[in-house]
């Protein structure tokens, strides 16, 4: 009987995974494996793909030799350090507020999601005005409290800060929504129990909400980590990696090397170095999750 059940389980696992596995194999793993091959070639994305030449490890050697690679990695980590904590903290805060049953709460839930839907291209022109050094709104507001703001996007020390702020603006609603979905699932009983113990609102947050939310929070942290490492669109549109490389990121370089600089092989090698970095950090995160993520209730 146990054997039968185990057998059933295997079949069920197989059946439920099959569509995803097939698609994964065809549309992701196959192209990924191809990019491994490409990373060992001199392919320029001009010559026919059947005629690429193998060049051994030289693309990888160049990735490590190029100063730009280190700038990009540094920039991405700076972004990560600024972006992830702000997003997680603000996201939880906003989700808790949005989870209240207040009249008109739906309108607020809709409002916070607006930036997520807005396209970068259209909104970049507005942001460039807000962040403009001379006549921008932000610097105007700062000057009212006696601060002389920098020329955000054209200043090599502030450009990345501006990118972080703009990205938090865009992604906050997205994270809040996911966390809200997680919050919906926490049973009222836990709060009532905590209340009987005389717990304060703060205490409830720490001992009920956050532990209960931890699986969702783990998802948010992992996704924002991966997104940070792949920072690209907003950089290309707002600063094009400048000024003087101050907002250059790995994927921005990958994109340019692949499609503008005729160095597809090199771009593939860069991508795999990036992959190694992301994988290492994700594994670390997975290790750490046992310490703070609680699945069983």
């Amino acid at each position: 009987m146990v054997g039968q059940r185990q057998w059933n389980r295997r079949i069920a696992a197989f059946v439920f995974l099959l569509p995803a596995l097939l698609g994964l194999l065809a549309f992701q793993l196959l192209p990924m494996m191809s990019s491994v091959v490409i990373s060992f070639t001199d392919w320029d994305l001009l010559t026919n793909w059947t005629k690429m030449h193998f060049v051994g490890w030289s693309n990888y050697a160049e990735v490590f030799r190029e100063e730009k690679s280190y700038t990009a990695i540094k920039n991405v980590f700076v972004f990560l350090i600024g972006y992830m904590p702000s997003l997680a903290v603000l996201g939880v805060f906003l989700a808790v507020l949005l989870n209240r049953s207040l009249p008109g709460i739906k309108a607020y839930r809709a409002a916070v999601f607006v930036p997520v839907i807005t396209s970068w291209v259209a909104v970049s022109i507005v942001w460039r005005w807000i962040l403009n050094g001379q006549s921008g709104l932000l610097n105007y507001l700062l000057s009212r409290i006696g601060i002389q703001g920098p020329i955000w996007l054209q200043d090599d020390t502030w450009a990345m800060v501006a990118i972080i702020a703009v990205t938090v603006w865009k992604d906050l609603g997205f994270v809040a929504l996911i966390l809200l979905a997680g919050l919906q699932d926490i049973s009222e009983d836990y709060y009532e129990a905590a209340e009987l113990d005389g717990a304060s609102a703060w205490r409830k947050l720490w001992s009920v909400t956050l532990p209960m939310l931890s699986p969702t929070l783990y998802f948010v942290v992992t996704i924002s980590l991966i997104n940070s490492f792949q920072l690209f669109d907003q950089v290309l549109i707002m600063t094009n990696g400048g000024p003087a490389g101050a907002t250059s990121t790995i994927v921005e370089q990958v994109y340019k090397n692949a499609f503008q600089f005729n160095k597809m092989g090199f771009a593939a090698a860069q991508s795999w170095v990036l992959f190694a970095i992301i994988l290492a950090v994700t594994m670390l995160l997975q290790r750490l999750q046992r310490r703070w993520v609680i699945y069983e209730r």
Partner: protein, 452 residues
């Protein structure tokens, strides 16, 4: 929930069917073009029969373009229809991709073996594609075509698509950059209008009189970026490469020219301050001119239409002042054929029509799309007659002192090379390095690039 799943399954089913349907459609068209293509290519070895056989079956040539993006697709459509009316055996299947994404699309198609028969390239990129042996050499076709004379084109523009003695494309249009000036501002200050005799010195003198910082009016403006840089150094007798193709970016003439670009803003204060990023907003410089805030500015001739409708004052154009010599940008766009095209003859007919036939050229001018590179002044007359500016012939006069994009000895490095130099120019502009330091660093980077 599960009723919904049923609906989903239905959707899946429909799409599976749809996919099969369109798949079949594709096969059909695929085989049709295969058979059509088989005859000319098979016949091409026996050329006499080719011309008699080819017109019987209709062929479809694929064309990829970028210049019509942003509102000129109708013009292309009209040109293609005019061509098809005169060439019943050829269908032209055109696709327009915006300039910013054109390289991504074209390179993917080229490298995966699905290149379009014809595609548009600018001079800079043409050199790369030619060097990589991706283009069809038109020289034999041109020699065989008795009805064709290269002198219908402006020679400079036509020769731009000659690579190592092989004609590998046909010029379609050209553009350049000239000095635009606001006549009303000049009149108000009683300053003489710019003319061909002007050098940087006269420009500066005038700019100092015209600048009115309090009212936000600047005497002269040009951005600090790579394209402006390579032209400005040419105006000072400098250059990016020497005759042997060695980089000479750090030369004295170049450093002085970059210093001049910076000084206009930081020393003479006749241009917006370098930390004034108002001018980094999209089209901010053009809008500033249109709003009467710039007395002189170096802009591309493609802005005529914009200023004609938006500028509420009198404006004109003049040749750019140089320092030791004159120099003007020159950009050429052309059509090239893929080396693997199976319809070389049909493609050639379209290239000729599209770039030089009066019907096509007329439509181009009429739509205010771009300046055709034809030599015939009678055809160009329609272009000159579109005013303002009244002195439109300056556009052609500027070609006497043109400087081509300095593609250098390794064309495929062009993108990387411009980005590397641009980054150093950024640093000079931000004041992070002096003109000398910036160009020395650029020189070093370019040397490294070439050595790879």
């Amino acid at each position: 929930m599960f009723r919904k799943c049923g609906a989903i399954l239905l959707v899946i089913g429909m799409f599976a069917l749809g996919a099969c349907g369109s798949g079949k459609g594709n096969d059909a068209s695929g085989s049709a073009s295969d058979t059509a293509s088989a005859s000319p290519s098979a016949a091409s070895s026996a050329s006499p029969s080719a011309s008699s056989e080819a017109p019987k079956e209709s062929v479809t040539i694929k064309l990829l373009m970028y210049t019509p993006s942003g509102g000129q697709e109708e013009t292309v459509k009209a040109m293609v229809e005019a061509f098809e009316a005169a060439n019943a055996d050829v269908k032209v299947d055109y696709e327009v991709v915006p300039y910013a994404d054109y390289g991504t699309k074209l390179n993917t198609l080229l490298s995966s073996g699905s290149a379009p028969d014809l595609f548009e390239v600018g001079y800079e990129n043409f050199r790369t594609y030619a060097a990589k042996d991706l283009l069809l050499d038109l020289t034999p076709t041109i020699a065989a075509d008795t009805s064709f004379k290269p002198d219908v084109y402006k020679k400079l523009a036509y020769d731009a698509f000659n690579y190592n003695g092989k004609q590998m494309g046909v010029t379609e249009s050209f553009s350049d950059v000239v000095l635009f000036y606001n006549k009303d501002l000049f009149d108000a200050k009683g300053v003489k209008y710019p003319d061909a005799s002007w050098t940087w010195k006269e420009e500066l003198d005038a700019a100092q009189k015209l600048t009115d910082a309090k009212n936000g009016i600047w005497g002269t403006y040009a951005p600090i970026q790579f394209y402006e840089f390579y032209k400005t150094i040419a105006q000072n007798g400098g250059g990016v490469w020497d005759a042997g193709g060695k980089p000479t970016i750090g030369s004295k003439a170049n450093v002085d020219a970059l210093q001049w670009m910076i000084d206009k803003a930081s020393k003479y204060k006749v241009s917006p301050a370098l930390n004034d990023d108002t001018f980094n907003q999209p089209d901010a410089d053009l809008n500033a001119f249109a709003a009467g805030k710039l007395a002189m500015a170096r802009f591309g001739i493609w802005n005529f239409g914009k200023f004609a409708t938006e500028a509420k004052f009198n404006w004109e154009i003049a040749l750019e002042p140089g320092n030791t010599q004159k120099a003007h940008h020159f950009f050429a766009d052309g059509l090239v054929a893929s080396r693997d095209t199976k319809h070389a003859e049909a493609a050639w007919r379209f290239m000729k029509f599209f770039t030089s036939d009066p019907a096509a050229v007329g439509k181009r001018i009429e739509a205010g799309w771009s300046v055709p590179a034809v030599a015939d002044d009678a055809v160009m007359d329609a272009y000159y007659k579109q005013t303002p500016p009244a002195s439109k012939k300056i556009v052609t006069e500027a070609l006497d002192s043109l400087v081509l994009p300095p593609v250098g000895p390794k064309p495929e490095k062009w993108g990387e090379f411009t980005a590397a130099v641009g980054e150093e120019l950024d640093k000079a502009k931000l004041g992070r390095s002096t003109a000398q330091e910036a160009l020395d660093a650029a020189q070093k980077k370019v040397k490294e690039l070439l050595s790879k």
